[in-house]
Amino acid sequence: MPRFAVSVRLAAVIVGCVFAVAGCEPAVNPVQSRPLQGTPALARTWQVLEQSVLLADQANTYTARYHVHMKRAGVDDWWWGKSSVQKPARMSMYVDSGRVAFAYFQSGDTAYVHDAPLWHKTTPIHSIDLFTSYLQLISRADRQHLPIERLPRQRIGNEYCQVYRATLPGQWLNPIPSWQNYRVEGAVGDVSITFYVGAQSHRLRFVETVSASTASQTGPSEVNTNIEFSGFDAPASKVTTPPSLARQLGRQIP
């Protein structure tokens, strides 16, 4: 009898516990902790950042991986991609938006886009330097003595990075030429931009932004971007003619 008494008692306890955890007990959803606070950085920080971009830009080859996320009431849009740059004028790229994916290749003033199943000739891009847009922003911020703060260092890829965060005015940014006609004053809010500079390489390794963009009469979209630079002067970053393009043309593009 005692054996059964024990198992019956045990059964009652476990069933009681299950009753308690099966959603019958009210659960409290906890409130969030404070966001990360930074400390004001030294006055020369913008110059340090400028140097890090110039140093990164000295590499003959490099790779960038990037991600864009636009969040709105009904629609979540994103696209990501990977570019390899080989100076002076070679670039390959792959972009995927979940719905459309394509490959792009440019060498000198010839450019091809892979619109499956074939490659088509397209207009080449004027400047393939991925650092130019950052260099322009940093120089302008330096000239205007924009405040910048330092955050705890973080690891990006194979090295630890110094992390700096600043807020840039949205009107400093310009859309690409095809959409210049749709540029409206005040359509981009302040941009929170965070730079990650390699502690050993002293190169710009990672940049992320958080901001909101809007049209003149619709609600805003949250736009988050990040880009990681790697493979500086690494053989893997060399840009070769994509095999399917070489097959289609019957030759390599010099």
Binding site: V28, Y66, T132
Partner: protein
């Protein structure tokens, strides 16, 4: 008694019938337990839930007297497998379900009868009753039955590549309230999304029946044009065609591969590209939408709107003209006190409340934290029992903002993780306080991207959980009231299976009795075992 249960062929028809009823009831109950109690344990409590599941299963297994254990165990598993089969196949409409269900039934009956030595009649009766009940109240909706009755459930196929989130836009016309959504105009799903056409359908109650029918031009005219435009991505803008009283939609590409390549080489400027894309979509699509409405013979309903920083429109016979910071009217609410008529206006980095009582004026402006933009995903809903409305912000993280009488904003709540999303705030009949319906991850699995349909109430400075329905596919919910006094019903979209569902809240306590019944059945099993053991000792 055990011999009677074990099912020897000596049972007469009169004695066999109650046993069949017992088997059928247990088959049904086992399926309910799986959906309502045991799967949720694992989904909510992760590894601790697995431990609980093992403990309950072990307890249950050993509560069954040895003589019928194998039979009872095999029968339970067969019933659960059959129920899960019905559930899975109803969620995958691409397969041919009837043939597969027959195949599954034969396989299960043969296996269970051979391995569990269960009389075939009982098993066939149990799965037969399950199949009939599934045809009447589909098992895929059982998870909702703990807190809702399912008033309507229909498939509205829509290509998710074109519209990742199915739009649900409530409208009020002379024909009654309705929710407008979209579906593929052609049944074929193999056509690429850019070459497919889509059409608007209205989900509404006609007399006593819920229906999904082609949306009338008057219903489309009642929609806010900016809500219509926002249903699609600015990267794939919409174009409309009016044909024989119906409006169809097709999508185009806004960005060429060359545009993407240019955006990449000037990556720091992407926020400006996004703004230009949105402006492009707004300019082109709004013009096209107004054109198609005119072609359909309707005019867009007048509404309050902001043009060049000026709020214009008509409010209770008065013409409005007020300078505001924002550019988008989110909606109407009572933010500073009950019965106040106030408008919530949203800008890039601020929220403004405009009072329409007396001379229109700005009551308050809130500047939004730059690191946590508000991103156009705001819900206005009742806040606790104050009679006031709060702003429910779906951001990263989601927050609740309330305004006091003096025009001061208070952030009363911020989620502890970035996944909580507010779906609707509804005061159901019988509720003291409004229920805040959310999509929210399990307590111990907040890092996993699995969000469940959950209800909270704001009480004593906290969100207190009322209940959680372990469905990950509830992507949007719109409350709808047929008349001013009528009950609120929820019109929702189940993503993945592309189903529209209409839920009516009931206040029956379903889960505790189910747990009690499971505990009782386990307890009864042990009682029988004690009794058997005593009989054996006496003998």
């Amino acid at each position: 008694m055990m011999k009677w249960l074990a099912g020897s062929r000596r049972n007469g028809v009169g004695r066999e019938f109650p046993v069949i009823v017992l088997y059928v009831a247990w088959g049904l109950f086992a399926n309910l337990c799986i959906l309502w109690i045991l799967t949720p344990l694992v989904q909510d409590l992760a590894s601790l839930g697995v431990f609980c599941l093992l403990a309950v299963t072990g307890l249950w297994l050993f509560s069954i007297p040895v003589s019928v254990r194998r039979q009872w165990w095999v029968f339970t598993i067969a019933s659960i497998l059959f129920g899960q089969g019905l559930l899975q196949w109803s969620l995958r409409p691409a397969l041919h379900p009837a043939f597969l269900i027959v195949l599954m039934s034969i396989g299960l009956v043969v296996l269970a009868c051979w391995f569990g030595r269960i009389p075939m009649v009982r098993l066939i009766a149990a799965i037969g009753v399950l199949a009939v009940i599934n045809a009447w109240v589909p098992i895929r909706t059982w998870a909702f039955l703990t807190h809702f009755s399912v008033s309507f459930d229909a498939q509205v196929p829509l290509n998710t590549a074109a519209f990742p989130q199915t739009p649900l836009l409530p409208v009020q016309t002379a024909g009654g309230p309705a929710v407008i959504t979209m579906e593929n105009a052609a049944q074929s799903t193999s056509v690429p999304f850019l070459r497919q056409t889509y059409r608007y359908v209205a989900i509404q109650r006609m007399d006593t029946q819920w229906t999904v029918r082609q949306a009338a031009p008057a219903q489309l005219a009642a929609l806010n044009p900016f809500d219509v435009i926002s249903a699609a991505s600015p990267l794939y803008p919409m174009a409309w065609t009016a044909k024989q009283g119906s409006v169809t939609v097709s999508l185009a590409t806004a960005a060429t591969s060359n545009d993407y390549a240019q955006m990449t080489t000037s990556f720091a400027d992407v926020p400006a590209d996004a703004a230009a894309l949105m402006q492009r979509a707004q300019d082109i699509e709004r013009r096209d939408w107004l054109r198609v409405l005119a072609q359909s013979g309707v005019q867009p309903a007048p509404r309050l709107q902001i043009e060049n920083g000026v709020l214009t429109g008509n409010w209770q016979g008065h013409t409005l003209h007020l300078h505001v910071d924002g550019n988008h009217v989110v909606g109407m609410g009572s933010f500073t006190g009950p019965d106040a008529h106030e408008l919530l206006v949203e800008g890039l980095d601020d929220l403004q409340v405009v009072s329409l009582d007396g001379t229109p004026h700005i009551v308050s402006t809130l500047h939004v934290d730059l690191m946590h933009p508000i991103a156009g995903n705001l819900l206005i809903g009742p806040f606790s029992t104050t009679g006031k409305d709060a702003v429910y912000v779906n951001g990263s993280p989601s927050r609740i903002l309330v305004l006091d009488r003096s025009g001061q904003w208070h952030q009363v709540y911020a989620a502890s993780h970035t996944q909580l999303r507010f779906l609707a705030v509804v005061q159901f009949a019988g509720d003291k306080s409004p229920e805040i319906l959310t999509d929210d991850p399990g307590d111990m699995s907040a890092q996993l991207a699995t969000d469940y349909f959950t209800s909270y109430t704001w009480r004593a400075g906290h969100l207190i959980r009322n209940w959680r329905i372990f469905r990950t596919d509830v992507s949007s919910m719109v409350p709808l009231r047929q008349s001013a006094e009528g009950p609120v019903q929820l019109v929702g979209i189940l993503s993945g299976s592309n189903r529209v569902i209409v839920l009516t809240r009931h206040q029956l306590s379903v889960l505790p009795p189910a747990v009690a019944l499971l505990a009782l059945s386990i307890g009864a099993g042990y009682a029988v075992r004690v009794w058997q053991w005593r009989c054996r000792r006496r003998a």
